[in-house]
């Protein structure tokens, strides 16, 4: 056998040995496309005020003023002046408020809300569609182009059905009776996602106990975050219960702390409340005069608190008390400038802060209206004297809400301050390719 015949075998062996011994470089990692987050200052759009309340069952005249659904005693007030936008109006500027007083009927009470800036993604944590409750969602488009909004309802069992798409024409409103979409939701949260510049959203939450009004209020979009404070607008008693409502879009473990005027109060037995994704959780607030709830969560949550004010119900209705309710939205502790327009009525500020600070509120000219110290982890109520139509502007880290009461009639509403500047939008752009849509 010639030696040359061994060459291929030797070469194969050498190759196998070389490959097994040598440490060959692995594949290089791909370089992803350069993605950039770009902050954009959108052109400010007018704020949307939802307009007057509507009687859920319609204005039924029974001949007996105690049983009439509607009422002639209605006062609608809004400031500053705006352009008509459907039933409501569009207010150019950084702030706006509407408050309505209905003296009797099904929706008797005081209902107010800050006019909201159009937004693409907002949570309204309020309302119910169970028997005796009505939830009316008002979407307002103050822009020149129509906007599509996707409305998703969430109840105690989680998200309810698919999103409803509502197209809102330029400079118009769309009102949705949510009980017509899904009835018997005892605790409601509404997620509104809109394209473009977004829509303004407000929810009219009306309750009726038999023939007796059980409270009507406008709910505004709440802040979502992992560290929130909800000021409780009024005293909670057995007759006038209060509720904290939570919803976590992706689920969250939430730690709740209840603050009183003299610091933290014991509340729930467990420290951590687990909120299922998309499910609405209602927690009854303990009785107390002046309270706030601090919410710390490991994922974003949206929250709001409802308090009620009880008054004697008309006789022969079988109900002891008529109620008015007020929703107060959760706020993040932020130093951004926020403002609220002051309506007429008995005004007070409920404020709480995570750190010791001062609650300083000025008017539009910079004159100090309120300047009170605020200890960490406590709640304070400050009476305010201000002209209707004037503005309260705060920049401190405290969470605060303006409560407006008609003590004589037993009516209450709260107004949460709104940011005075349009926040920058973050747009993430990645260069890419396009070969068609599947």
């Amino acid at each position: 056998m010639r030696l040359t015949r061994l060459i291929p075998a030797a070469a194969t062996a050498a190759l196998v040995a070389a490959v097994s011994v040598a440490s060959l470089p692995g594949p290089a990692a791909e370089v992803p496309a350069v993605t950039r987050d770009i902050s954009v200052a959108p052109t400010p759009l007018p704020l949307a005020c939802p307009g007057p309340l509507e009687v859920p069952v319609g204005d039924i005249d029974t001949g007996d003023s105690d049983l009439d659904a509607g009422s002639d005693d209605r006062t609608f007030w809004s400031a500053p002046e705006g352009d008509a936008l459907g039933e409501g109006n569009a207010v150019a500027g950084a702030w706006g408020t509407q408050v309505e007083r209905v003296g009797g009927g099904d929706i008797a009470g005081l209902a107010g809300t800050a006019c909201s800036a159009p937004s693409q993604d907002q949570w309204l944590v309020a309302g119910a569609t169970s028997l005796g409750a009505s939830a009316r969602l008002v979407l307002s488009n103050t822009s020149d182009a129509s906007v599509r909004a996707h409305v998703t309802l969430h109840g105690p069992v989680g998200v309810i059905d698919e999103a409803i798409v509502v197209s809102v024409a330029p400079h118009s409103q769309q009102s949705l009776l949510l009980e017509g979409i899904e009835a018997e939701i005892p605790a409601l949260a509404v997620h509104v996602v809109a394209g473009g510049v977004g829509v303004g959203a407000a929810l009219q939450d009306s309750r009726l106990n038999g023939f007796v009004a059980a409270g009507t209020e406008w709910a505004a979009p709440t802040h979502t975050g992992t560290d929130l404070i909800v000021p409780i607008a009024g005293p909670v008693t057995a007759d006038a219960p209060g509720t904290l409502r939570l919803v976590a879009p992706d689920g969250a473990d939430v730690t709740l702390s209840l603050w009183g005027s003299d610091g933290e109060r014991g509340w729930l037995g467990e420290d951590v409340v687990t909120v299922e994704a998309g499910a609405v959780t209602d927690l009854a607030l303990p009785a107390g005069d002046l309270q706030a709830v601090r919410i710390e969560a490991d994922a974003p949550v949206a929250a709001a608190a409802s308090v009620t004010v009880a008054r004697d119900a008309p006789a022969d209705t079988g109900v002891a008390y008529a109620l008015d309710q007020a929703w107060t939205e959760a706020q993040a502790a932020t130093s951004d400038e926020r403002a609220v327009v002051v309506p007429g009525g008995e005004l007070s500020i409920v404020a709480a802060a995570t750190e010791s600070t001062r609650l300083t509120l000025t008017d539009a000219d910079g004159a100090v209206v309120v300047d009170e110290p605020l200890s960490a982890g406590t709640v304070r109520r400050v009476e305010v004297e201000a002209e209707p139509g004037s503005v309260l502007i705060g920049t401190g880290p405290a969470a605060w809400a303006l409560t407006v009461a008609d003590g004589e009639a037993g009516f209450l509403t709260t107004l949460s301050p709104t940011p005075t500047s349009v926040p920058d939008r973050l747009v993430t752009i990645a260069p890419g390719t396009y070969v068609g849509s599947p």
Binding site: T12, A33, I38, V427, T428, G432, V435
Partner: protein
Amino acid sequence: MSLARLTVRAVVVSDGQSGRLAAVLDALAAQDPAPDHVDVVLAPDAPDVVAPASLRATLIRADITNFSHGVDTAVAASPGQAGEMLWLLHDDSAPLPGALAALTATARKRHRAEVIGAAQVRWDDPSRLVSLGTTTTRTGARRVTLVDEDDVNQGQYDARDDVLAVSMAGALVRRETWHRLEGLDPAYRGWGDSLDFCRRVWRSGGDVVVVPRARIRHAQESLYAMRGGREGSRRDTYVERRGAEWFHALVYAPWWAVPFLVIAALASSLWRAVTRVVRNDARMTAAELAVPARVVASLGRLFGARRRLTSSAGRGRRARAAEAALLATPRQVRHDVRVRQWGEYDTWRAASAPSDVVRGELELSRRRMRRALAATAVLLAAAAAVLHGDWILGILRGQMLVGDALGVTDAALGDLWDRGVGGWSEQGLGAPAIDGGLTALLVPLALVPGGLAVGLGLLLALAPLWAGLAAWATAGAVTRSVTFRVLAALVYGLLPPFIVAVGDGRLGGVLVHILLPLALLGILRAGGWHRGERVGAGEHFPAHPPRSSSAGMAGAVALALCVIASPLLMISALVGLAVLAGVSPGRRGTFVAIGVPTLVVGLPGVIAAVSQGVATADAWSVIAREPGPSAPSDRSVFDLVLSPWDGIDGVPSLIATVAAALVPVVLVAAALAVLGGRRWKLSLAGIAMVATGVAVAVAQAATVLSPDAGAGTGAANGWAGPGLTVAALGVLLATGAGLDGAWLVGRGATRVAVRVGAASMTLAVAVGVVGYGAALAWPGREDAATVALSSRDVVPLVAALEQEPPARQRVLVLEEGGEQDGDAPGEVTAAVLAYDGTDIVSTAGELVSGDRAAARTSGDAVVGLATLDDAVARLLGGESGAGQELAQWGIGVVVAVPGSASLEDSLAQAGDLALLGSSDRGTSWRILSDTGTVARAWLDTDGGAEPLAMGRSGGGVDVGSGGTAIVAVADDEAWTATLDGEPLVSVEDELGRVAFEVPRAGYLHVEYDDTTHRVWWWLGAATLVWAALGAVPLRARGFKEARA
């Protein structure tokens, strides 16, 4: 019959360059009757010659310039006698006995015969004819012989007498005729002067007669360029002879036809040069191309030659009538061409014809092979149909294949060509390219009816079939075993990394896998290393198959195309060819020629790499670039080969296991096959290919490529496929060579052992193939292919229309990221499209670090899509003025793709957009520009903008005033502009676009003019065409010129 005695004066002229003069004189002495006088005219420096004593020879020393001059000298030295005849003899033409007697007999019979020629026979074999009279065509540009060269003289031409012309060597010429016609025309420089002289004889009223029985041995030393003891060949005198033929035509043509004949000479030479290229005959190609120059050079002598013809013979109709009947008939011409050009082929075929027994065996093998091939093709086609049958159906329905890695595949032929020739890539906002990218490969695919979408679609969909057929052909060159060929074709055609590459649309890797076997086949055949069919007891027929230059050139084309598809292969291909040239001295030229196309198509890349520094990462990234679509792959090279089964989830585990064992089993079989050491050189070459392939694959995969869609877009790492293809072919070669003849090896127990081993390994591979096939065809298999079918229109029609010339607007396509795309929610993917969909297939602007173009050394970054990010974000975020910024880059339409509702809403709010319409391809908005229309290029003036009518990489318009010409592409030095033909100065543009200062009104023209690129492109194209012509299998049918 004249009773006067004929006196014959034999004139032998010699310049002393022939060694046959003595033999000629001896032959003269042997004549009976002998010539009356013999004059031997010798050039002054010719060696002395001793004439036989019986010959009354007169030696004349004279300073002769040519044969005719020599004859004149001899004639002048002796007084003329009435009726004397001159017997003209060259110093290499010796009359056979009886020649003179036969000639003089005819001279006596034929009074009017003024030239009596003899039959020319081979010097060394008088039974073979060289010439027995010649004629020419009506034009006169082709000499037609009247006998087949080397025909055996059996007296079959003995009846021949009148011919148009005879060779002057050995011809009797009447002395007065010689005088009257002033001898041979020196203008012919010795070639074709006999024909001219004889034609003049006919025209002047004489006859030219050939005497077949008078035979002259003629060595034709001039023709074979052997004078002076040189070792020449007929090829050496081709230019002179061909030039003389054309000169002859020019002399005999009417004056007005002369320019046309010169043009015809040029055209004929070019055509003949092409045929020489086809025959891979570089030397004769050069000779053919030299002919026109020779014709032109002879024009100076034309006037004299035409005057000599007119004065001595006449040009009128009567003069022509005499010779008309003797000119070659078309049939004679056809016969002449056939005999001269195909005679060699017939000779070869006759010589190599197999015996009847062998012929029968060959026919049997052929039938067996054909059946096996058909079965293999059906299996591979079925596999392709199972894998991607939906693609084929979709393509037939008019759809196209698309993919993130592939882009759209519906590029127009014109766009492809422009991209290839021009070198401007439309990726991102435009970038210069270092070469034509894949366009050279795509243009043929675009010629398929239905366009590139169909061509490319069928290439990909049926890729296993194409690759398998190529492997079948190559395996057949290595061994003639049917089983081996079938298994090799199946394994290679369904090789796991290849199937992955097809599914991902990695076009470069797919093309290499299909073409590289053909390159290897060509190289094997060029080296003569392929196997003839097995006949009888196992011997091959033919035993030593002829080496084929044509196959080599076909391999060269395939190799060059592979290098286009995967440039990293160039280095190993050239090194491999150099080694082959080194170890096979006889075929050095062939292997060098095979490497030329590869070198030419690869050289622009090498130059670009070197200009990025010799040993830098940038240089390497250029060398290892992938010109076509690319996609990242995080699998290691060995993973890809040994466990590529990510793609076959959902297959029962037994089948998956068998399938996964295929490649290891094949490798073990290969290792066992090379152990025997049969055909060890080929085996070693195969092992070297495996090593090279693995190295190439590892290196390619470890390289980050240039981003496909321009600066800032995602950049993949290289695909190991081409290297693995090389390795797979190496395994094929080593195994085939190692197994060649193994069936017959040894005796007794050894033979049984070898046969059992071979059979069991074959069975194992076959089981692996079946298992793998079953896994691929398993209905529940999860298809990992990322290529999909799509309608050919990608963006809405309203947007696509704006992309057309003259405006050639770009379209901004926005897509909302979703988690299903792997993007972060809320992320917006922005694509800027110059065509209907992202075209990655044809664009290849190579970028190196810092987003610099590899084709340039200026160091400037190419402006990428990132420059638009702000504007896009502001457009979406509701800030005004963003549309203007987009329009500055020629973006005229914004499209929100279907399913991006919130983007649609955002865009609906934007102030500088106007809704164009909504369709199932998306919603489109026109960008409202302050200056009116949006265009790819325009002239910025004080009053607004004048758009240019733009083609792909250039355009123009009549402008009414001066201003700044803007081309909305990333700035590059190769953009030029002219105003009424005068070049304009480029100015700096703050956005990084191409801008020129236009001083006044006039016709403004802008163009991308990259001369270097164009030169390389045409050079590459010419080389490929040359190699493709050389691949036409005409080698064996060469001219007889090739024989000597």
